[in-house]
């Protein structure tokens, strides 16, 4: 009896939260087929029945020559920048996190926890004032309006997250594994690559997902540090936000831009379930 009640409660809770998650997307889906006339007549939901559907919101996204924006090129640029910066951040962040988790660093009064905090503190600063120094820096190196320039800036945004998340994961892996590997004749670097890394795949996957998400969705720097040649997806999409907010095409673009990340989420989920790392060594 208690078990039934529990199951009932559990699935009710899941259902409620799922609806809350899904409803904005459903609204975006139906809105993406509307025109201004379909919007000004109040909230409507069902095409044909309540409003006359139109493909305009979607067509705008692939049109060139003024009557829309073409998001194909920005889509590709966004992927290159996001994946590039994420991979570099993940590599550097994993190494640094392992170091912070296993060794003791001291520099005067600075300890491990301070170094870790230094990493994450880079995300505290509001981006607004960093825009101008980053602009000057990239200008000095001739990297304004370029993919490379954006990757460099994005590393500064993503590396802290990767490091922060990975330290927690390494702390959770028992130190015995390291010791076992060292006894087997590996030096710490060898042990890290041969034993630790494979065992911390779930952590790497989670950290990587965060990097991808934050990189993919960053708006501000992509905006200030590019002119006309390089455009990232969020920047291209807001180029539709004119005096009249185009509910339809923004809805369509919201759905389009979430797509690649959802695919990645399915991959991530697989790693999460399969990799019970604590279990792996026992």
């Amino acid at each position: 009896m208690m078990r039934t009640t529990y199951l009932l409660l559990k699935y009710t809770a899941i259902l409620i939260w799922s609806s809350f998650v899904v409803l904005p997307f459903l609204w975006a889906l139906t809105t993406s087929f509307k025109t201004a006339h379909g919007i000004t007549s109040g909230a409507t939901y069902i095409p044909w029945l309540q409003y006359e559907p139109s493909l305009e919101g979607w067509k705008v996204l692939v049109r060139t020559g003024g009557a829309g924006i073409n998001i194909v090129q920005p889509y590709i640029s966004s992927m290159v920048v996001t994946v590039g910066a994420s991979l570099i951040s993940l590599a550097l962040g994993t190494l640094a996190a392992y170091g912070l988790s296993r060794f003791t660093y001291r520099l005067g009064f600075i300890k491990n926890s301070d170094i870790r905090f230094f990493f994450i503190s880079q995300r505290i600063m509001p981006p607004i004032v960093l825009a101008i120094p980053f602009f000057l820096m990239l200008q000095y190196f001739g990297l304004l309006d370029s993919i490379i320039g954006l990757i460099i800036v994005y590393i500064a945004l993503l590396l802290p997250i990767a490091t922060w998340v990975m330290v927690d994961f390494f702390n959770n892996i028992l130190r015995e594994i390291d010791e076992m590997a060292t006894i087997d004749g590996c030096n710490p670097i060898g042990a890290f690559f041969r034993v630790i890394l494979p065992n911390s795949l779930p952590g790497i996957v989670v950290a990587g997902l965060f990097c991808l998400i934050f990189g993919w969705n960053d708006f501000f720097f992509a905006f200030i540090l590019t002119f006309t040649k390089t455009q990232l997806l969020p920047v291209a999409v807001v180029a539709l936000n004119s005096s009249v907010t185009p509910w339809w095409s923004l809805s369509a673009s919201a759905l389009v831009s979430v797509a690649p990340l959802v695919i990645i989420a399915f991959v991530v989920e697989r790693f999460l379930s399969s990799g019970n790392m604590a279990g792996a060594i026992r």
Binding site: T40, V60, G66, A67, I69, A131, Q139, Q231, S242, T245
Partner: protein, 509 residues
Amino acid sequence: MKRYLLASILSIVLVASSFGVQAQDYSKYGIGADIPGACSYKSIDAKDYSGRTLNIITHAVPVMGEPTALHAKQFEELTGAKVNVVHVPFGDLFQRIMIPFQTGQAAYDVLFYGSLWIGDLHAYLEPVPAAYQQVSGMKDVTVNYKGVATWGDTMVQYPVDGDRHYLKYRTDIFDNPKMKERYKKETGKTLKVPTTWEEYNEIAKYFSGWDWDGDKELNYGSAEVAKRDDLMFSAFISRVAPYAKHPDVKGGFFFDLETMKPLVNTPGWVRGLELFVAAQKSFPPGGNNFGLGDEIFSFGGGQTLMSYSWDDAFIQAMQSGSRIRNKVAAAPLPGALEVWNRKTGKWDKFKTPNLAPYITWGWTSAVSKLSTNKDMAFDYLCFFSNEANTAHDLQIGRFGVNPFRKAHFDAKFWIEKLGWEEKIAKTYVKTLSDMDLSKNRVFDLRVPGVGQFMSSLAAGVSKALAGQETPQKALDGVAEEWRQIVDRIGKEKVREAYKNVVALEDNLR
């Protein structure tokens, strides 16, 4: 042999295509016919800019952004140049332009932006060369918009659009005998298009919260731009102008030019704000958080009886397929029967309402001083605004290009090309052209740091709207902040700039 064949085919193609160019009638570009002139399709076609690149920053699609890109593509085809266009939402446009300017980066050749920023940008802009000031399209620009484009004695902005605030209202209510009768019976007054803001508020209140157009949805009296950082300051200035701009008092609307003392907390301004606060009762639900886009949807979609701001909501309502097409009309902004006279320190009573048209900022364009393609950049702007292109762009509501030449004030154009009813077209044209004749106009605060002044004003007004402070206290706070801003930027610097605005307002040219 093969190579020879290829070359001959190539030459034949080339010859054929050059013939094609000569026989061009340019109608494939969607314009009615090319209109001869220095920047006509034919003249631009004769230029060769191949191998060169033009970088343009403009507003988001479609308002101004779409015509920019459209004419950029045509310009590419005609001249062989490569043209890159980047579209930016209005809220981010200023910093996108300013950061490269301040750091000496030649990011863009051509800029489209809000004309009120002239005070901040003029130092970075290339004056319009004399030759371009002599082209027919430029000569026909009205005095107002030439004034808007000019800094001191130099034209630094290239006029491509004309903007102003005016009143929009529903004719199916105002001209409806049943409504008139009902209004008379219940209020004892005659229903007519409001000529003062007090009347505007009264009528708006009466027509709020019931379904007066029979579509089973509630209707409301007034849609206004009231969201704090979304151009609300312009709406507020429209409301304040007739109470604070006395036709006989010269020397400044925002500041007293002599002392540079802010006038924002004088009784005329306070009255304007009190009426703005009171008007909230007639807003649709959420109306005190309406940005420009919401205002356009609300009036343009038939939810509200009246509205005032730029052309967009009117154009939205007049679009084919709109359920209130030809049921709206334009009128001058309401005025005031009592006007604050800051010279005498008294309210002066007027028999006919004092009108003070607000020639609000709008879209303009310019060429960067840092550009290495100034010749091409000016040719582009001249081409963008040639008579054939403007005639085309004026017909497409979403482009946001509004009348700015004398030739545009011709009711026939709107009746024939867009199918407007004659009466609507005539009142529209008259409303717009009368603003050019007014001797009591208000221009934007075109001084360095205008962003600071306006965001401070918006914050104060917003506090009063939300009931956090009384109108007087809120505007006192704004005045104090304005004093500090003036001190920071430099009194003389602001005065020097404001002198130009006052000269426009006092009709000194």
